[in-house]
């Protein structure tokens, strides 16, 4: 059983909703990524989504794009990200880590090489935003190495395609809760609830819902019907400008604390 599967099984057994924070690796400070990851866990993260900076993040909004640009400007690359995961694993063997990003950095590193390196570093899954199911054959070496491929589903996904995604889902299925880019806020909770309920019945993996979740209230509303809630842009925005490890950890705690509490109270 993979680390991700174990984590979701434990959540289910405890009747809890998972909390999946996203941070861009290398932002706000490359030297504090590992302590940031531990701070996320301390604040109640069940899975960590670590963004691999890319120069052309087509599916992300301005907040995450700017975080990517800041990290790239500081020289952050895929090798650094893998190094940080390995360092994180020295102290934490339980929290699943999913790398989220775009194909080109992985392809340039080499699919086979990346697969082996990522598994060795302790990465559990990859969510490559610009690699839909139709193109996923290129990821065979990653899956062969033992990485789970996290798939996205969207409100615009047609029923026949949704059935395919449910069938292919592993780790968790990431439902993006509105038809747009990350970080914009348009959320009809009822609509999402109905769609997610249907997907949860058919998907071979738990369903995490994200995009547009920004505080305790919206997280609680989503947490009422999702297996897990993903929080990205709002967290990245909150961390912007923090310099010391202490400040970063403080902001993480302040931001995620109420969200964790709201999810657990629900």
């Amino acid at each position: 059983m993979s680390r991700i599967d174990k984590r979701f099984a434990a959540l289910k057994a405890a009747g809890r909703t998972g909390l999946i924070p996203f941070v861009t690796a290398g932002d706000p400070m490359p030297e504090h990524v590992v302590s940031l990851m531990h701070a996320l866990v301390d604040a109640g993260a069940d899975v960590i989504e670590l963004g691999v900076p890319f120069s052309d993040p087509m599916a992300d909004g301005p907040v995450i794009q700017h975080a990517s640009e800041r990290a790239i400007a500081k020289g952050v690359g895929l090798a650094d990200v893998l190094g940080w995961v390995a360092e994180f694993r020295q102290r934490d063997q339980a929290t699943p880590v999913v790398l989220m990003g775009y194909l080109n950095p992985v392809e340039i590193r080499g699919f086979e090489r990346f697969g082996a390196e990522a598994v060795a570093a302790g990465v559990d899954g990859v969510l490559l935003v610009d690699c839909p199911l139709e193109e996923a054959q290129v990821l065979a070496p990653l899956r062969g190495a033992g990485l789970q491929q996290i798939l996205l589903a969207a409100p615009t996904t047609a029923p026949a395609r949704m059935a395919q995604l449910c069938e292919a889902a592993e780790g968790f299925l990431y439902y993006v809760s509105f038809a747009g880019i990350t970080g914009a806020g348009r959320l009809s909770t009822q609509d999402i609830a109905a769609r997610v309920a249907d997907i949860r019945q058919h998907a071979k993996a738990p369903v995490a819902v994200g995009f547009g979740v920004k505080d305790a209230q919206s997280a609680k509303a989503i947490g009422a019907f999702a297996d897990a809630v993903v929080i990205g842009s709002a967290l990245v925005e909150r961390l912007d400008g923090a310099v010391t490890a202490q400040d970063i950890a403080g902001r993480v705690g302040e931001f995620l604390g109420p969200i964790r509490a709201a999810l657990d109270a629900g």
Partner: protein, 403 residues
Amino acid sequence: MPKIQDFHLWPDVHGRFGDFGGQYVAETLMAPLAELTEAYLRLREDPDFLRELDRDLTHYVGRPSPIYHAERLSRHVGGARILLKREDLNHTGAHKINNTIGQALVAKRMGKPRIIAETGAGQHGVATATVAARFGLKCVVYMGAVDIERQKINVYRMKLLGAEVVPVTSGSKTLKDALNEAMRDWVTNVADTFYIIGTVAGPHPYPMMVRDFNAIVGREARAQMLEQYGRLPDVLTACVGGGSNAIGLFHEFLNDGGVRLVGAEAAGEGIATGHHAASLAAGRPGVLHGNRTYVLCDDNGQIIETHSVSAGLDYPGVGPEHAFLKDAGRAEYVGVTDDEALEAFHLLARTEGILAALESSHAVAQALKLARELPKDGIVLCNLSGRGDKDVHTIAAREGVEV
């Protein structure tokens, strides 16, 4: 790769040209792309649609464009005959309108009242704003803030045509960032919005659709060659940024094995300097803007900023069909420097009275090289993809002339 007999079989149903192309996009775009693909595949077989397109190409764009024997230029070179396919004579002054008029008609038939586009130099933006006005569609053009500063005249032109120009301030603030931003707009507003991509890149069906609309260039040229010269040219050449005018010229000739195809990429200050935009000549396979193709990136996979004197060639990727033709050995892609393009620009101006676009001047420079290698009875057919009026300020500034 096994020897290919019929190059017109691509892309396959997934939009792949061999290892290239495809749909490397986020899940949210899969449905809009499927809707577009279905609509386009239906329309490309629809006689009524094709008649409407043909009517506008004839009476609005001014097709067919002639092929012109540049005699004085050819004599100056002292080699083969150089013929120019005069896409610069189209309405709006370039091949770009072949595509925008086609896509605007698709938008109209799909019932989408709002058009968006990305633009670098502003040529595609102007061609899009033009057809949006022609068909009464709302038009929003995304343009990098740096490009807006460099191309003020085209920005104003778009505004005169009723388009809204939105500055893009992310990334390098140039074409690739404008493309990212337009893609975001599309994802968010897909219900009423049609995205007109300006080159043969992007996710399927764009490389196929943009190629199809530009393929009229090669269809006309091939027929004109047979009619006027009783033979096909020895070699075709065209400039390649994204590659739409080149694929437009090449496509009809792909199965004519005896016709050499040479794409001229922007070598900028020289490929060895790193300041260039020659994705095929100096890049590597990767994924950018929704398709697998040759890209210019660093060892971390980050797309790098490109350089060319010609804004229209200043792009770090290239259409996937070109990547396919390169790997299949059917077409060659070579670099032409800024200086070579400028020299060709001046030579063409003085010998033939034609101001070519800086983009097209790369093709002219390549045509000069090819003509020198061929005997006098040989024929080089060069796509003169656009006129150079838009570039006179750039050229004057570069040469230290105050206009």
